[in-house]
């Protein structure tokens, strides 16, 4: 099996889906000759031509809205938003059109489209190349939301997203694009949307995270393991729908939940998960479900590292849970 980085796995998934299905096409800013600013679409325009790998004008509304029209007319568009931070000028096309089209037409029209976007911090991107807007999508009925953390998942989930009959927001933590290399099957495989991955087995406490902070979460878990404390680690992979069953099963076992995410804390995915666990596992909880999240400030370039959940911050919170 070939070794791939996440960005290579994404490129490979797009390539396979495009050759499998003529209706699959890519559009976005600089996805053509440039291959995308992170090279996720590198080589695909040369291979499939400028119609199926289309450089769009500089407008997210044009990209996302055109994707809705392409999809409802029978294509399978994969739109790229150059940075998740730039989805907002076009977000009404996702919220008013894509998310509500099936519903408002009583199932007559649908928008099977994928919206790929590099997300999260850690690359010295400052205000507008670091944000993690998944909560906005999850809060909006009609969108599925995936946030990957490994090359293997990236390929399997992206292929599933392309074949899904509803709009899927596919978020790629940019700091992981080239951070990890792992074996990724060179052929077809799918990973279902909505299923979490168990990254570590343990009984001391449950660490739940997704996307970029999976790195710090696993580091923290390993440090604890070295100290003889086995944490169970769950990677949600999908945040809408999120795998409640997997989380409840684990917390029912450990009685302790620490939710880690780099998005701002207020009304976030982390809030949703801990709120749900408190509602449903009240009696099994041995300590209050805690959150380690990004801060409720714009993303500060100067504190690129400090803003995101650090291993220390995760370990401190875990200690609080265990000492409780």
């Amino acid at each position: 099996m070939p070794n791939m980085t996440m960005v290579q796995a994404i490129n490979n998934a797009l390539d396979e889906e495009m050759s499998r299905d003529q209706r699959v096409m890519l559009l976005g800013e600089d996805v053509g000759k440039r291959g995308g600013v992170f090279l996720a679409t590198e080589g695909l325009q040369q291979k499939y031509g400028p119609d199926r790998v289309m450089d769009s004008p500089l407008s997210e509304a044009a990209i996302l809205g055109a994707a809705v029209g392409l999809a409802t007319h029978g294509m399978r568009p994969v739109a790229e938003i150059q940075f998740a931070d730039y989805v907002f000028p076009g977000i009404d096309q996702l919220f008013s059109q894509a998310a509500k089209l099936r519903y408002r037409s009583g199932g007559q029209f649908t928008a099977p489209m994928v919206v790929r976007m590099p997300t999260g911090g850690g690359v010295k991107g400052g205000h507008h190349h670091s944000q993690s807007p998944e909560a906005h999508f999850a809060h909006t009925a009609g969108l599925k939301v995936v946030v990957v953390s490994t090359p293997y998942d990236a390929k399997g989930l992206l292929k599933t997203a392309v074949r899904d009959d509803d709009p899927v927001v596919f978020m790629e933590p940019k700091r992981l694009y080239r951070a990890i290399k792992e074996e990724v099957p060179g052929d077809d495989y799918l990973i279902p949307i909505g299923k979490a991955a168990l990254r570590r087995q343990g009984d001391a406490l449950t660490l739940v995270s997704y996307g970029g902070p999976m790195v710090e979460t696993l580091k923290a878990a390993d440090e604890m393991a070295a100290a003889g404390l086995k944490a169970e680690v769950i990677d949600l992979r999908s945040v809408m729908p999120w795998d409640k069953e997997a989380v409840l099963n684990s917390v029912a076992k450990t009685g302790r939940l620490l939710m880690i995410s780099e998005a701002p804390r207020m009304a976030s995915i982390a809030s949703e998960v801990t709120a749900t666990v408190s509602e449903e596992l009240f009696d099994q909880l041995l300590a209050p479900p805690l959150r380690v999240t990004g801060f409720d400030t714009p993303y500060p370039l100067a504190q690129d590292k400090l803003y995101m959940p650090t291993v220390t911050r995760i370990l401190n919170a875990a200690k609080k849970l265990l000492d409780y």
Partner: protein, 368 residues
């Protein structure tokens, strides 16, 4: 049908008109329409007017909750409906296009089902009245958000071009819509791709209460086409044949591979913005009375008279026939009853995820 020759010039300082106020055919070419065709335009305009009156009655009698009257837009809308290939081309309409959709063959039962939000609504009563759609007829379901359907129309047109379907995407909107960013972004994308999209502004010079003078400083809407390197046609939208022939040329031009264009149909809005509006707050009754002098129906009637095919009795019978069809469909839509409350949880996705199952169960238990 591909035009043998180009009949209309873009960016004319005055609106293109083919029939004058007195009903004379003033075009430099023969209209070449049969009596049957000419009567058909009248029938559809009349039906649109009667539908409008009917919907207003439904409001007064509390049977429906919203209507955006299209009286004054009939000539423009019927011109569009006759110019596109029904069931083949796509229409991306807006909420004031009930006359247009009726003329395109949207079933009366669906129209009234949607208006009443009864079980006869294919969309299960989820949207406000005046927001229909029909997959069979390629009528993209109306979305309230102004101009949000422009980029989707561009996308569909790009798909039509890439797949060589010989279809055209016709997208309608009002003058206010032209100020939205999505309007600009969508037309620009279609134009740069040379996609077969015809963007049509039904310019009634008002966005609710906001007069066009506060909406844009451009000479007219058609000149905005310069920004996209496409032709912009400025047309008298109270003249059904001007609307028809220009739309036909625009659509066939797009079908023939000559790309995107913009058409402005200058119309009047005879009613308030909607049943929720009181236009006396911002529009003088004198101004309105003056507008009403320019009613597209009487003008076209004068044309038919000049053409020697006007028959008052025929018109009266037509009125009665149409009214009857509408009333019958209304009754059927009323009979259909309420949609099932639990349908609230369908069509969010192709299948219900766990959280919607839970929420559905909660309501199911509540309803017992």
């Amino acid at each position: 049908m591909v035009q043998e020759k180009i009949r209309f010039q873009p960016f004319s300082p005055e609106p293109i008109g083919l029939i004058d106020e007195q009903g004379h055919w003033i075009a430099p070419f023969e209209h070449g329409l049969s009596a049957e065709q000419m009567r058909h335009f009248y029938r559809d305009m009349l039906a649109a007017r009667i539908l409008d009156e009917k919907l207003v009655v439904l409001i007064r009698t509390g049977k429906t909750t919203f209507v955006a009257p299209h009286s004054g837009h009939e000539a423009a809308q019927i011109g569009i409906a006759h110019a596109l290939r029904r069931g083949h081309d796509w229409l991306f309409p807006y909420y004031r296009d009930m006359g247009l959709m009726l003329a395109m063959g949207l079933p009366l039962l669906e129209i009234f089902g949607q208006t009443l939000g009864s079980a006869a609504d294919p969309a299960k009563g989820r949207q406000m009245p005046s927001h229909p759609g029909c997959k069979k007829l390629n009528i993209f379901t109306v979305c309230s958000a102004i101009a949000s359907h422009i980029p989707p129309a561009a996308g569909a047109a790009i798909s039509m071009k890439q797949r060589g379907t010989q279809q055209v995407a016709v997208c309608t909107f009002g003058d206010g819509a032209t100020s939205e960013g999505d309007w600009h972004a969508g037309i620009n994308f279609a134009a740069v791709q040379g996609a077969p999209a015809v963007f049509v502004c039904e310019n009634n010079r008002y966005a609710i209460s906001v007069n066009i003078a506060k909406q844009t400083a451009s000479e007219n809407i058609a000149v905005k086409a310069h920004a996209y390197g496409i032709p912009g046609y400025y047309v008298d939208g109270l003249d059904v044949l001007a609307s028809y022939f220009v739309m036909q040329e625009a659509i066939e031009r797009a079908r023939a591979g000559h790309g995107t264009c913009l058409v402005e149909l200058a119309v009047n809005r005879f009613g308030a913005h909607s049943s929720a509006d009181d236009d006396s707050r911002y529009r003088s009754r004198e101004e309105l009375a003056a507008e009403r002098q320019h009613d597209p129906l009487p003008r076209y009637q004068r044309f038919l008279e000049k053409q020697g095919i006007w028959d008052a009795q025929w018109a009266n019978e037509l009125r009665i026939e149409i009214a009857g069809e509408l009333e019958a469909a209304l009754q059927e839509a009323l009979q259909a009853g309420e949609p099932d409350p639990l349908e609230m949880f369908d069509d969010v996705f192709a299948a219900r995820p766990w959280h919607l199952e839970e929420q559905r169960r909660l309501v199911a238990e509540e309803l017992g």
